[in-house]
């Protein structure tokens, strides 16, 4: 209603577009709105519907099963494993692309302009590489025969580890691939956030005698808080969504479910086991998880938008 009254007022004083303004407005937004409707909201509702059915993707009949997919999910050890793995990914990525870039952001403030620019560009560089290519490059680095890490390990006299096919190391190996790519994006956001802290604030704090750790602990890091919260939510999204590509390419969730996560289970149940209903139930829960993360982040920090590769 507010928009309508404002519209009338503006038409009164400025150039009149007549009743056609609304229609023109709708025509401009039509292509994007229709596309997003068909390819985002329609499938979301369809997924919700399918989550109450049992269906193998090819059979002409879909059987209504009520909440049974959701119930099965709660009891399934596979899903429980996927959830704990998702948490493990979040911890890995929290350390590698939240804590580490925050420390690097601190380090960057002590650099002269030339090095500051150089480090920012170099550290950002892997971000433009696709996760698929990153996966293949790292597969070669991890490769037990002739791979860089195995050769170094060998030279150190250690028993070579097949990182990606050992259930104890595979999840970390996948997390490192994602961290390699994602570090630069978070680092860029953090440095931009810190640059947004007004110089006067820094000067004033230093006049008051705040130096070194005190300056960071009590002035700068708190002011960087909203950015850190935003980067934290981006990191949680990575832990669920980004890892999908290397998992799909390299391990398909194995060995013995050690690398699967909640998002990968959506794919595996639908396209491996053809359990569309069950897959949809997991998808709906993932959607709710993302809704919670996004809502909390928006409430806590002021930033609203991120841009992610899919």
């Amino acid at each position: 209603m507010k928009a309508m009254t404002e519209g009338r007022a503006r038409r009164g004083r400025a150039l009149s577009l007549g009743a056609g303004e609304a229609i023109r407005g709708y025509l401009f937004i039509l292509p994007a709105v229709v596309l997003l409707g068909i390819f985002v909201y329609r499938p979301l509702l369809e997924t919700l519907r399918l989550s109450f059915y049992e269906w193998n993707m090819v059979s002409p009949t879909q059987t209504y099963v009520g909440w049974s997919n959701y119930r099965e999910m709660l009891e399934s050890p596979g899903v429980r494993r996927a959830i704990s793995n998702t948490a493990a990914y979040a911890l890995w990525l929290g350390a590698l692309v939240l804590v580490l870039p925050t420390i690097a952001t601190v380090a960057l403030t002590y650099m002269r302009t030339f090095w500051r620019r150089a480090f920012r560009v170099v550290l950002f560089l892997p971000n433009i590489i696709s996760l698929a290519t990153a996966g293949v490059i790292w597969l070669w680095i991890y490769n037990p025969i002739g791979g860089f890490l195995a050769t170094v390990w060998d030279a150190l006299g250690k028993f070579p580890v097949n990182w990606l096919s050992n259930p104890n190391t595979a999840l970390g190996a996948i997390a490192v691939i994602v961290a390699w790519k994602a570090f630069g994006y978070n680092f860029l956001l953090l440095t931009a956030g810190l640059a947004g802290v007004p110089q006067e604030v820094v000067e004033a704090a230093r006049v008051d005698g705040a130096e070194g750790w005190v300056l960071w602990r009590h002035i700068l890091l708190p002011m960087l808080g909203p950015t850190i919260v935003f980067v934290l939510s981006a990191t949680l999204v990575m832990a669920a969504e980004y890892v999908f590509t290397p998992i799909h390419m390299l391990t398909e969730g194995g060995p013995i479910n050690s690398t699967t996560n909640v998002v990968f289970e959506i794919w595996r149940q639908a396209f491996r086991w053809f359990r569309v209903g069950y897959s949809s139930a997991i998808a709906i829960c993932v959607f709710l998880l993302f809704l919670v993360i996004t809502t909390v982040q928006m409430l806590v920090s002021e930033r609203v938008v991120s841009y992610e590769e899919r």
């Binding site: 928009a3 519209g7 150039l15 303004e21 229609i23 023109r24 407005g25 709708y26 937004i29 039509l30 292509p31 994007a32 997003l36 390819f39 985002v40 979301l44 369809e46 997924t47 690097a104 380090a107 002590y110 650099m111 090095w115 920012r120 170099v122 550290l123 950002f124 560089l125 892997p126 433009i128 590489i129 696709s130 996760l131 698929a132 293949v136 490059i137 790292w138 070669w140 490769n143 570090f183 994006y185 860029l188 956001l189 440095t191 931009a192 947004g196 935003f230 969504e241 799909h248 990968f264 959506i266 794919w267 396209f271 897959s279 998808a283 959607f287 938008v305 991120s306 841009y307 899919r310």
Partner: protein, 287 residues
């Protein structure tokens, strides 16, 4: 928000030479970790096969060769795959730019019932993981008989909520008086948009276009579902195919293929590095 400007440099702090050196070494180690995998990929792609498996960790290839790239052309129909990737990435970028520009203009400059709810519905699509909706979209595209077509890869990505959001920010700043003046002169709505508004926001369109292109060039999750015919695959999808083929342990070949996947994005990045980084940096900013 002036996104096409360089990332803010910000202020710097002073510290003693020792602690500065320590911080420098820390950043240097991170930078080497960032660069090493790329360097390893390039050099493996250029090393003669005999050096690759010898447990040879030399950082520079001895007697660099383009042999792996030549074999790649023969073995994997590389030209076709690069062509597919280019078509899908370019057309996706084009569609995303046009639909984003139109919608952003509509949302920024027109008043109509339900404008705010519709805008937030658009924005909301950014927070829905593609994996949540991919099964249903796959079924739809399959019902339409589009599997293994460019259309299948492009259509579901033809609108970008991020693009709408990003351009709306720019278009809101455009002075209304200029638009009104053009309309008094009898210019149609589309003429106003393309002749008067577009030229002033060209830097933002360029930055957004590069971002879209790199993203579309790199995408994996959706095309891996709908492009399963080796003749239709884009490069990231073909990489997986190579990996699972008998050439999967031919690392010279694999790294040559990876290099082909990295190069276009890398060139785009190096050409427009400041623009890309400032656009990326702005993606986290509040609306």
């Amino acid at each position: 928000m002036r996104n096409a400007e360089p990332v803010q440099e910000g202020w710097s702090l002073e510290t003693g030479p020792l602690s500065r050196a320590a911080w420098f070494v820390f950043l240097l180690v991170l930078a080497l970790l960032a660069l090493f995998p790329l360097w390893w990929m390039f050099t493996t792609a250029l090393k003669p096969a005999s050096q690759i498996f010898a447990g040879d960790l030399s950082l520079f290839p001895r007697g660099a060769t383009l042999d792996h790239f030549r074999r790649l052309m023969g073995t994997f129909n590389l030209a076709r795959i690069m062509g597919n990737t280019l078509v899908v990435a370019a057309v996706t970028t084009g569609f995303q730019l046009i639909t984003s520009l139109l919608a952003a203009y509509g949302f920024a400059r027109y008043r109509f019932p339900l404008r705010e709810p519709l805008f937030y519905l658009c924005l909301g699509t950014m927070f829905i993981p593609i994996q949540v909706i991919m099964v249903s979209n796959y079924l739809l595209v399959s019902d339409w008989g589009l599997l293994n077509t460019y259309a299948a890869a492009i259509l579901p990505q033809a609108a970008s909520a991020f693009g709408v959001f990003f351009l709306r920010q720019q278009l809101r700043l455009f002075p209304q008086s200029l638009l009104d003046a053009a309309r008094i002169d009898g210019a149609g709505e589309l003429t106003v948009l393309f002749r008067i508004v577009l030229p002033t926001i060209r830097p933002f369109i360029t930055a957004l276009g590069i971002l879209f292109f790199i993203n579309a060039w790199n995408q994996y999750v959706w095309p891996v579902l709908v492009l399963t015919d080796p003749d239709m695959m884009t490069l990231p999808i073909a990489l997986r195919e190579f990996m699972h083929s008998e050439a999967g342990h031919d690392w010279g070949l694999m790294m040559a293929a990876s290099t082909m996947g990295v190069l276009p994005a890398l060139i785009a990045f190096l050409l427009a590095q400041r623009m890309i980084m400032s656009t990326f940096a702005s993606t986290g900013l509040k609306g």
